[in-house]
């Protein structure tokens, strides 16, 4: 089809239908890159050639200022004096901004209003609450000038008592009679009496450390002042709408005055959900105050000191069970280290509780959670959103029950699984019946494919003959609830344009951080229109196209945005069908979209031709789409209801070897079987599974956050904070997508969310390490091993069991 002819507005230039059809449509059996195909990441080639642009790669506008945020040196102190005269006079400095320069609200928090952009300088609130808290900003011609100027500031602090650890936080809270957030409890049955009545009890404590996101691309935002006092912000964020809202709130302007855009992030993992608002707000403030574009880019150390992390959690468990390992009742006490402010901690601590049961029917349960304030950075969302912490508690308890009963840990686990589909469903501690449980089936398959039983014997034999090296083996399940537990967040919007040449422009509220969301949603749209994936242009996320979006989080990206985009595409497709049916006098059912063509009765056309005709017939070829997850409904007050649309399942079996002289260890082999429903893109899903597993392993092994007694984080760069490297990944890593997977819920093409669940497969590594330590003590004592299980912790645990 000759586009110029279509564009020609004169009647004479208008093509006749016959001309449009001059070339016959091709007859591929299937479109390229449709749903369920392993299409490559849409930016793959751009990634490998360096052409993919991130926040710091866009050409800077002339006059762009570089912003440095000066940070508190104290964990908890009153700001007695802040003298910025010398900083203001330093070379290259265009502006030095404090709380007093903020025209609107001095807050960038997602919910509670307790995250000041900069601390107020007068009155009660003139305090800092963690080392690394932003104090003021310097904007200068170069970043070095901004840093140098910031050093000239004189800050006088008056120290106040600081709580750096969970123990200190508990002491502070008990003294004050108040936690950072109110405690929360879930109850199922009468756990106390059931525990009393149980023949056997296992109780203990496991401390689970935090985790830095270590997205490879640090936090960054650029703000460009526009006319009318508007601001355009480019932000590396999982939550453009929240950045927009926080920037507007800070400037005291309506949301419509702020546009936030991003094409992609260099990793997010939850660390760019609530945190980016700070940097965007600071950049926007500079832009508005100076009238110049401003870039706020954190270097690695500043990023790690200034931004929140996974919540460190202490879990006390007490389980009652029968001789065969059947759980009769459970009691969990969570102490969650939230940091200085509330941020998303309420929902995160809740999710830890929602996963305190993991895949097990607890029968009677009490789960109690305290949310504690420490004078450290405010902890935030991180893949799994508290769920992993909750899960470690019950998995540790499972290992202990196995130890106490002498039953194989896998048998203990299997005995307690939620009933399978078709059986009478059991309810969770939050009273949701589990109706889609496939964990028994998955574990059964993995047990066989990983050769679990034989390897158990082999491990035992090895350990019997080896004093220095000990092996451990563990197979652990994952059941992870999908949906935002804050119900209203479960909505999404999309915008689809079909251009008259048949190419498609796709936009939705989701953000791309590497998880492959964009390609998956594009596959959905390509499938709906039956056009090759290459015909669908993926575009940057912007608040100007899709408003009021939720964060790309809670693994919900493709569930929500995929559905929204599907709805948008379907609207356009319905219009095309109606048009074709009318023009060619065929019933609508006879207008069928096939690979890159449309069958209309006995006739066939290329998709692009039909689109061109529809354009000429003045049919709208653009539509929004919207989706809200059905059926979910959780009553937080009553701690009861259905917070999740469905559950994702998976299981992993890990084998480790430890060196009992040094505590060093290696993961030797891991087998994973994971349920992604019907995969939208098996290649992307495999990537999420492997990546999640390795990231989870890092969390539970080498990634240690270490604060000194002054509250200074000493592991604030990769030199000291150790995420896994290529050699930590076992050569023998066998990952499979569960081929029977199918979502019982009506999700997009019956797929399941995959972003977070695989992270928790790594608990098998932690359990295997526990098993190996136990073997080092000849099975005499159950090891107390906390996470991260660094070589030091492993050695100390070995020493401990050997001394008992």
């Amino acid at each position: 089809m000759d586009e110029t002819r279509i564009q020609d507005r004169s009647g004479a230039g208008e093509p006749g239908i016959a001309e449009l059809n001059e070339r016959p449509p091709g007859h591929e059996a299937r479109i390229r890159g449709g749903v369920a195909t392993p299409a490559a990441h849409d930016s793959g080639m751009k990634h490998v050639t360096g052409a993919a642009r991130y926040g710091d790669d866009e050409p800077e506008l002339p006059g762009t200022l570089q912003v440095f945020i000066a940070m508190s040196a104290r964990a908890h102190a009153k700001i007695a004096r802040l003298d910025l005269a010398a900083a203001r006079a330093a070379p290259g400095v265009a502006a030095v901004l404090t709380a007093e320069d903020i025209p609107g609200e001095n807050d960038y928090s997602p919910v509670f209003g307790d995250d000041p952009i900069f601390p107020p300088l007068q009155g009660e609130c003139a305090v800092v609450q963690y080392v690394g808290q932003p104090l003021f900003a310097v904007a200068a011609e170069t970043e070095l000038q901004a840093r140098a100027a910031a050093k000239l500031a004189v800050v006088d602090y008056e120290d106040l008592p600081a709580a750096i650890s969970i123990d200190a936080a508990l002491a502070h809270a008990d003294e004050a009679g108040e936690d950072l957030l109110p405690a929360y409890e879930m109850r199922l049955g009468d756990a106390a009496s059931a525990l009393e009545a149980a023949p056997l009890r296992a109780s203990g404590r496991v401390e689970v450390g935090g985790q830095d996101h270590f997205y490879l691309e640090g936090q960054i935002a650029t703000a460009i002042p526009m006319e009318d006092g508007d601001v355009f912000v480019r932000s590396s964020t999982q939550h453009p709408s929240e950045v927009q809202h926080n920037v507007a709130k800070m400037l005291g302007v309506p949301d419509h005055a702020v546009t936030v855009e991003l094409r992609r992030m260099g990793g997010g993992f939850g660390g760019k959900e609530s945190q980016p608002a700070l940097f965007a707000a600071v950049a926007a403030l500079v832009a508005v105050k100076t009238g110049r574009p401003a870039k706020c880019r954190l270097d690695r150390d500043d990023d790690m000191e200034m931004t929140g992390k996974r919540h460190e959690t202490r879990i006390d468990y007490d389980l009652g069970f029968a001789e065969d390992g059947t759980i009769l009742a459970a009691d969990f006490e969570h102490c969650v280290r939230c940091g200085y402010s509330r941020d998303l901690s309420a929902a995160i601590a809740d999710r830890a509780m929602f996963h305190a049961d993991n895949a097990y029917d607890l029968k009677a349960a009490r789960i109690h959670s305290r949310r504690l304030k420490t004078h450290t950075v405010s902890n935030t969302a991180f893949r799994g959103f508290g769920g992993p912490q909750g899960m470690v508690g019950i998995e540790r308890a499972m290992d202990e029950i196995a130890f106490l009963t002498g039953v194989d840990p896998l048998d203990v686990r299997k005995r307690n699984f939620y009933p399978a589909i078709g059986e009478e469903p059991a309810v969770t501690p939050y009273h949701m019946p589990v109706t889609d449980c496939v964990i028994a089936e998955i574990v059964e398959e993995l047990e066989a494919s990983s050769d679990y039983r034989a390897r158990c014997e082999a491990v035992k034999a090895f350990n019997a003959g080896s004093t220095i090296f000990k092996k451990g083996l563990a197979l652990t399940p994952v059941k992870f609830g999908i949906s935002f537990t804050t119900t209203h967040l479960n909505q999404a919007g999309a915008l689809v344009h079909v251009y008259k040449d048949g190419s498609v422009h796709l936009n939705h509220g989701g953000t791309e951080m590497g998880q492959g969301l964009f390609v998956k949603v594009a596959q959905v749209v390509a499938e709906e229109f039956q056009i090759d994936l290459g015909k669908v242009k993926i575009t940057a996320t912007t608040t100007a196209k899709v408003p009021n979006t939720s964060a790309t989080a809670a693994s919900s990206g493709s569930d929500l945005n995929g559905m929204a985009a599907l709805n948008a595409a379907r609207t356009i497709k319905d219009r095309l069908i109606a048009f074709a049916s009318e023009r060619y006098h065929v019933p609508k059912e006879q207008v069928v979209f096939e690979a890159n063509r449309v069958r209309i009765g006995n006739d066939e056309k290329r998709f692009s031709d039909l689109v061109g005709e529809a354009y000429l017939a003045r049919i709208s070829l653009s539509s929004t789409g919207f989706y809200a997850t059905p059926e979910i409904d959780y009553d937080r007050e009553a701690a009861s209801g259905r917070p999740f649309y469905y559950f994702a399942y998976g299981a992993a079996c890990s084998e480790v070897v430890i060196d009992t002289l040094t505590g060093e260890y290696r993961l030797l082999r891991a087998d994973i079987l994971h349920d992604v429903g019907r995969s939208l893109n098996p290649a992307i899903d495999m990537g999420q599974i492997e990546g999640g597993f390795v990231q989870g392993m890092g969390w539970l092994t080498t990634e240690e956050l270490w604060w000194d007694d002054k509250g200074r984080l000493k592991t604030h760069a990769p030199s000291t904070y150790k995420i896994p490297t290529s050699n930590d990944r076992p050569d023998d890593l066998r990952i499979a997508i569960w081929d029977k997977g199918e979502n019982r819920a009506e999700t997009v093409y019956r797929s399941k969310a995959v972003g977070e669940p695989p992270f928790m497969l790594a608990i098998s590594v932690f359990s295997a390490l526990t098993d190996a330590v136990c073997a080092a003590g000849n099975g005499r004592a159950f090891p107390r091993l906390d996470a991260p299980a660094t070589p030091e912790r492993v050695l100390m645990a070995v020493e401990d069991v050997r001394s008992q």
Binding site: V48, L216, R300, I684
Partner: protein
């Protein structure tokens, strides 16, 4: 200050001349401590090279560096652009991610896409450059070599599997013969480097790159207050992390006399500017534990830049090489002007932050004795993470045995440690417990107990005092068990084959 009248004439200040992605560059007017990364991303707008940490630890900034060897040849290595200073590029060629696929994607790039080896993609250019360099230099032979090649590159998304697969896929791809082009480039680089000492200045900050050891001696004598920079894997961080001003730098990485390895009877001499990568094979020949230590020392890019001289002269208490060389009885050659003196390495480290090195004196060479037949050696690096992690404890032991009647007894014991004190240090009390008796479990136990007198290590983010002491002790036990044939195998090498391994370790 020395009398300027007697000084040789200062070399003329020149612009920095190098080749970037095939095109010549002449740069002046930027600070000598401008990093290569900032230069690429800034003035050149080559934003494919990323900054992930600015401290050499993530590999996102990896570029390929080519240099002429002074004899018409060309060598290639990957380096971290974030901690290389721009003037050091004088007479060198740099290739970035934008260049390598200029004629369409390379087989590596295609393999990366086909294996789904990128997710967020931010780490990806670094991996591509690193694997590309590995492929060009023949370093990719098997799975382990691919993993080792990329152990200095961090990826937070993929879990590495697909990247390793992509690396393996191209390992067998023939490397195109670029002999003629290389010779031409070598000549061109030699010409760009220029004659004599390269001298650069901007904003009153100065930089010298001598090319011979005599030029170095003269330049340093004329500027004894200068800071020497070799691989810049420490000094780079003084700038990118501590924002230190370094007004006067002398770069020794172009001094070809310091880049030689000479073998002599019973010993090996390493020029101070020999990199860890260049030294690895020879040191592994002295003892495999040294090769293993160097496999895990930093990542490939750092080993391609960091020098033996720098690892010693930085005086770090947690450097990996010094304990090893102290245990072996290594010595260093220090030169100042025309004066040369030899110091036993253990005496070089006086106290934390203080070494036996005078103003204007530099490390010229390192002498490493080979092991005699009656000597046994052991070295092990303990760190939180296996690869690319600064040691919590670095232990290196060398025992000399002699016959005494029926027994074989320890004649000399050298137990050296990093991470246990303010300097790399021998455990003299423990050594005393070993000498004059057979090295059996009792002797080891006595020496282990005595280590508590030798050391009271500190607690920090890498390890606690207790852990350091415990592992230091236990490593001696391991040495004893290994020599007695009661233990074998190190966890570092344990992979899937271990799954079927017969039990190892002593009987209960």
């Amino acid at each position: 200050m020395t009398d300027t009248a007697t000084r040789p004439a200062e070399p003329a200040i020149r612009p920095i001349r190098f080749v970037l992605n095939g095109a010549e560059r002449e740069v002046a007017g930027v600070s000598p401590t401008t990093t290569l990364l900032d230069y690429l991303r800034g003035p050149e707008r080559l934003t494919g090279t990323k900054e992930g940490c600015a401290e050499g630890d993530c590999g996102a900034c990896t570029v390929l560096l080519c240099e002429h060897d002074g004899a018409g040849g060309l060598t290639r290595r990957s380096v971290n652009a974030c901690i290389q200073f721009l003037p050091a590029m004088n007479g060198r060629a740099i290739e970035t991610i934008e260049h390598i696929g200029r004629n369409g994607p390379t087989p590596l790039q295609t393999a990366m896409v086909e294996n789904h080896a990128s997710q967020c993609g931010f780490c990806t250019p670094g991996f591509v450059m690193q694997l590309h360099a590995g492929w060009l230099t023949g370093a990719l032979t098997d799975r382990q070599s691919v993993k080792d090649a990329i152990a200095g590159n961090l990826c937070r998304c993929t879990g590495y599997g697909p990247i390793i697969e992509a690396g393996l896929e191209i390992a067998d791809e023939p490397v195109p013969d670029t002999g003629a082009e290389d010779a031409a480039l070598s000549a061109r680089l030699a010409q760009l480097e220029g004659e004599g000492v390269f001298s650069y200045a901007s904003d009153g900050h100065r930089w010298f790159s001598p090319t011979s050891v005599d030029e170095l001696a003269d330049t340093y004598a004329a500027h004894p207050d200068a800071v020497l920079v070799a691989g810049a894997t420490d000094i780079g961080l003084w700038v990118t992390k501590q924002y230190r001003e370094l007004p006067l730098l002398i770069d020794i990485s172009h001094v070809r006399d310091l880049k030689v390895i000479e073998e002599a009877a019973g010993r090996v001499y390493f020029g101070a500017a020999i990199t860890h990568r260049e030294a690895r094979e020879v040191l592994a020949g002295i003892h495999p534990d040294l090769g293993e230590m160097l496999r895990r020392f930093a990542g490939t890019q750092i080993r391609n830049a960091g020098t033996l001289g720098g690892n010693i002269a930085n005086g770090s208490p947690i450097g990996d090489l010094p304990p090893c060389l102290i245990a072996l009885g290594g010595r260093i050659f220090l030169r100042k002007g025309d004066d040369l003196r030899i110091v036993a390495l253990e005496d070089f480290f006086i106290e934390y932050g203080k070494q036996d090195r005078a103003m204007g004196e530099f490390v010229a060479a390192i002498e490493v004795p080979r092991l005699a037949d009656n000597q046994r050696f052991f070295a092990h690096k303990i760190s939180k993470r296996f690869d690319s992690d600064i040691s919590a404890v670095m232990a290196a032991f060398c025992l000399t045995f002699e016959a005494s009647g029926e027994d074989v007894i320890v004649a000399e014991a050298r137990l050296a440690f990093g991470g246990m004190a303010g300097v790399p240090k021998r455990a003299k009390a423990a050594e005393a417990k070993l000498v004059g008796r057979p090295f059996d479990a009792d002797a080891a136990a006595d020496a282990m107990a005595a280590m508590a007198e030798d050391f009271s290590p500190l607690t920090d983010m890498r390890a606690s005092s207790e852990y350091r002491l415990k592992t230091a002790q236990n490593l001696l036990k391991r040495f004893q068990l290994e020599l007695a044939g009661e233990a074998s195998g190190r966890i570092a090498g344990m992979g899937p084959e271990t799954l079927d391994m017969a039990p190892i370790g002593g009987a209960s």
